[in-house]
């Protein structure tokens, strides 16, 4: 067990954990965040994605000690202080881009990452970036539409 400082959604938290604990478990259990989800624990599905800087990254195998001091954002952190949704989040509601919605966190994180890193990305590129994100319900087309229309600055 070690004391580790992590910065999530603009706030610094001091936690005591086994330094090898994957970030996902810390976010869900210590910080009680619901955004990042456990899907595979193997970096194969994208359900657990968070933003580190502007990069969407799976958190399920990432040791918490490795992200100490980095800027981590989760789904919750995309909502502005006054409750307004991020434009990518809003687009998911507008397009009703969910069935069970379990994949939504990863899809939105990836969408935000694209909008910050390459807002000019075309459909082909967006699909490429979403390669890791699985959706078992088959909501892909709506999700793609939501991301496409919301990434532009």
């Amino acid at each position: 067990m070690e004391t580790i400082e992590i910065k999530v959604n603009g706030e610094t938290h001091t936690i005591t954990a086994d330094p090898n604990t994957p970030l996902l478990y810390v976010l869900r259990n210590e910080l009680e965040l619901n955004g990042p989800k456990f899907g595979c624990g193997l970096q194969q599905c994208g359900a657990c994605m968070v933003l580190i800087g502007s990069q969407a990254q799976p958190s399920c195998m990432l040791p918490v000690s490795a992200v100490s001091g980095k800027d981590i954002r989760t789904l919750e952190g995309l909502v502005s202080k006054n409750g307004d949704l991020h434009k990518v989040q809003q687009a998911f509601i507008d397009e009703q881009a969910a069935q069970c919605g379990y994949c939504m966190n990863g899809m939105i994180m990836q969408g935000v990452s694209i909008s910050e890193q390459e807002p000019e990305a075309d459909e082909r590129r967006i699909r490429e970036r979403l390669q890791i994100n699985i959706c078992r319900c088959g909501t892909h087309c709506r999700i793609l539409k939501a991301i496409k229309k919301s990434i532009a600055p």
Partner: protein, 727 residues
Amino acid sequence: MKYSNKPGRRNFMKQLGSVSIGFSLFGSLSCLTENEKELAMVFEHTPKNERIDSWLQVLEDGSIEIYTGKMELGQGISIAIMQVAAEELNIPVSRIAIHLAETGITPDEGITAGSRSIETSAMSVRQAAACAREILMEIAGTSMKLPVNELVLEDGQIRGREEVKNFHELLQGNQIERAAYEPKEYYGKTQRNIVGKPVKRPDLEKMVRGETFYIHDMRFPEMVHARVVRPPVYGAVLQSIRQEELDLEPGFLKLVRSGSFLGIITEGEYQAVQLQQKMTDRCKWYVTKELPQYENLTNYIKSLPADTQTDVENGNLAEAQQNAQITHKAVYSKPWIMHGSNGPSCAIALFDKEKLHIWCHSQGVYPLRETIAKMLNIPVTDIHIKGVPGSGCYGHNPADDVAAEAAIMAMEFPGRHIRLQWMRQEEHAWEPYGTAMLMEHKATLDSTGKITSWNYELWSDTHSTRPANGDPANLLPGRYLDKGFEAPQGGGWRGGTIRNAEPLYSLDNFKLTSHSFSGPLRVSALRSLGAYANIYGIECFMNELAAKAKADPFEFRIRHLNDERAINCLKELQRMTTAVNPESGEGFGIGFARYKNSASYCAVAALVGFSENKPAIKHMWGVIEAGECINSDGLKNQTEGGMIQSASWTLMEQVTFDREHITSTDWYSYPMLRYPEIPKIEVTVIDRPDLPPSGAGESAQGPTAAAVTNALFKATGSRIRDLPLSK
């Protein structure tokens, strides 16, 4: 007229605090101690399905709470039910809350399956709401001393000449305890202001913000975590465990062992994950049965003992076959495929004050309660199960298993909430799959290209081993407990096997024979059950027959149909795709069916080409006609999703195993369609408000499989009949 003068269920539940109201009240159960009398009601009461207040209650602010015995699985049933209620009561959807399946609280509606929730739950709510409206209008008329036709119902209020009263005021805090009856009018049929519209789902708002919504998100004070240590293969007996220094393991609380069932409980979740791994290495198992190995699925299935039955026999097959001009035969097969829920199954259980509470994403809380009672040998009236949404399940996934496992562990570790979540490898390797099937077709044509006979023989394991009949062996842990409930023998219920096995086409001479075998893998209901494979085979065979008859596949189908709705559906698909012009190397194909031959009609077309030497679906089109459409966007969403899911099954999905156990245990060894391969999709909804609504969540599975396969044949000129298409 009779009203309740007792406080409504809502009031009583409010006192209960945390147990059951909506998603917002996930608080600890410990506060229940002061309310033991009320809590007892949860255990002893089952709302009666015929009563209005079992489905609908008026809250203090005049808004409405609807109770459904069904579960939200991502299929959008909540919004559909809210819409039908809102329409009848002329109240905005935003003033309706919905309470999902919970024992003692909602009506017992069995299992959320078979695309039946619209036909059953939504229609019960519609009736209760229409009755409630009529009753409220009468009450208002009496209290305002006006004839009902001078009253205006608007926005959840009833307006007379001088007064306006909301529903709560009219009922003076009571509920309508009467039985539902046949109302004079359904606004859903006559006005249709809310029904049929693409009303947005309120639950998406919660998902998008990361609010507490899924079972996975529930947290209770002092909650602990659990994992199960799995055997190496289905047939295994736990011989020994090295338990030394377990107490020194971080966070270790308890090892729960009963027979060959082994669970661990720890303070932290990651501690449980690590200990699960460690304990797996420390267990010695005796393998009682290995899995079979074979070269060829068709031969293997045919080698299994089977229970054979003639299900349908019309006309005179032999005579028709003798007089035939053209005879055609084809054999198709599909492998075992998995539900593969995106989020592994999860449940929370608490045993406290001699009562067992379970939170889980089961599709049937009441049947599960009965089965868990038998497994644990405790009375049903000691168990309370609340349904909380999980990841999409697409049928009978391990939702019930995980609930049963959490319950076993809770009984051994009372007083604290125990959260159990399966790991990805467990979900992949231990879920009940959709069974492999074999489909053998033989048909004859006359010189005009009319089908004169059709013989269909099919081989299948069962499509349901749900814990619906109270048999604990249908819960995975049931097999490993001390008591040793025998694993189900397979075969069994045939209804799923022959679902859509009879073509909708008019056939004078038709015979259906089913061979029910007991296969090596654990199987149960997967979205559409046998219909996926049956429709796949029939609709591929229809294209093969059309080719023999030198007919266009659309025209060939229509010539064999006398069902107007079916013909309309196909013609709409034809209209949508007239401009499609496959390039060289591409092919176009269609598939069609009416789900269960009694529910929704669905026609699908696909344009398939190649990319990197693998079949690639470029574009798909779908037409869905589900009678009266309740939510047009929901219907589209379900159809699009079904098409993509089925395309993935058809193209690439198959469970693999060796002697030891399942070998497809993650998303690499069990690949699915990913973004770069997802086709464009267009779906048209045909709305028939003049007809009753029918469920549509499973309608696209079969037609899509055939459309894709038929298109691939067009693209390549050679027909693959054994799924998946790209092995």
